[in-house]
Chain length 210, copies 2
Amino acid sequence: MKKGLLFVVSGPSGTGKGTVCGEFVRRTEISLSVSMTTRKPRPGETDGKDYYFVSEELFLKTVSNDGFLEYAKVYDHYYGTPKAPVTTKLAAGTDVLLEIDTQGALDVRREWPEGIFVYILPPSMRELRRRIEGRGTESREAIDLRLGESLKEMERIDQYDYCVINARAQEAADSLTAILRAEHARVGHDIHETIRAYKEEIRCYTHPSI
Amino acid sequence: MKKGLLFVVSGPSGTGKGTVCGEFVRRTEISLSVSMTTRKPRPGETDGKDYYFVSEELFLKTVSNDGFLEYAKVYDHYYGTPKAPVTTKLAAGTDVLLEIDTQGALDVRREWPEGIFVYILPPSMRELRRRIEGRGTESREAIDLRLGESLKEMERIDQYDYCVINARAQEAADSLTAILRAEHARVGHDIHETIRAYKEEIRCYTHPSI
């Protein structure tokens, strides 16, 4: 059986990768991985959908059992990608999507080098600023700091396979869909099985023009 | 300026790659390369569209000037892909499509390793036979021989980047289109120019919220 593809998407905060990934999930059969966290659910968040909300004790036990593809502590809370559901789905032939930060992506790359790593860029820094300002939740100083961090993060882009510029979410989702389709057409180890089957087929039919 | 991509498509005779490539050309902006040959035009063939029909003298002069990306003698006639129009278009940012045989493709790969190499497979050997029989131009013995050669040729498929199965021409053309789009999103040497431009942009705007 053909294994699923692990698809990892990162990009600076405010670049709209959540919207793009949502549209990508709707159009394809890819399964979005649900992260585990020790922070409390916010109003409207559902356990098992937005996150698996767990105790710090359970999280750290999972860490010590090597149960994460990647994890990190952000301020006071842990966030991580549980390994088991991902590897189970991939083995069953289902593609899996992770939407994680650059550090997480590089950790996953070490564990799963055959993954497909996609970086989403804003069309310009001015537009990225406009989008963050549009949220209205941060001071100008905080935004400046965030943009500086985004630029530093972008320097790691050459560790990704693909880069998609999100000018319009629909078109960026088109690109992700094209990348997934193309990657499924990649010549891999399984190609020789196909050729062997073709040879077998030719040997099998006794009356050649049936 | 971003260079165009060189897209090379091969596949066994009868697999329908001509139809698939025709549809692919209609949907995208890719430019189909016209081969040069010393054979005479058949009724309905146009010089400069189907082939460049040239004398053996001119062909061999082009060979000695290293003017072909690949060429071969098939029975009594020479066929080749002229290098100049391809490299000119690629330099101008136009994608170029070559529809050539396996040997030609491997020659091109040596000259242009960054090309995208796609192999088109029939859905089954039985279907390939059916398609060749449908032409009604060959004896059963000739068809058997041809299928055997196709199988031998297929063993070189792992020198290609992608493999597309042509069950329906429209879907195979969808796959070629997706591969082209994905390849344009590949992280390449030019990505750092983009990031540099983003940095420059941030440095340039003096009033950050304009």
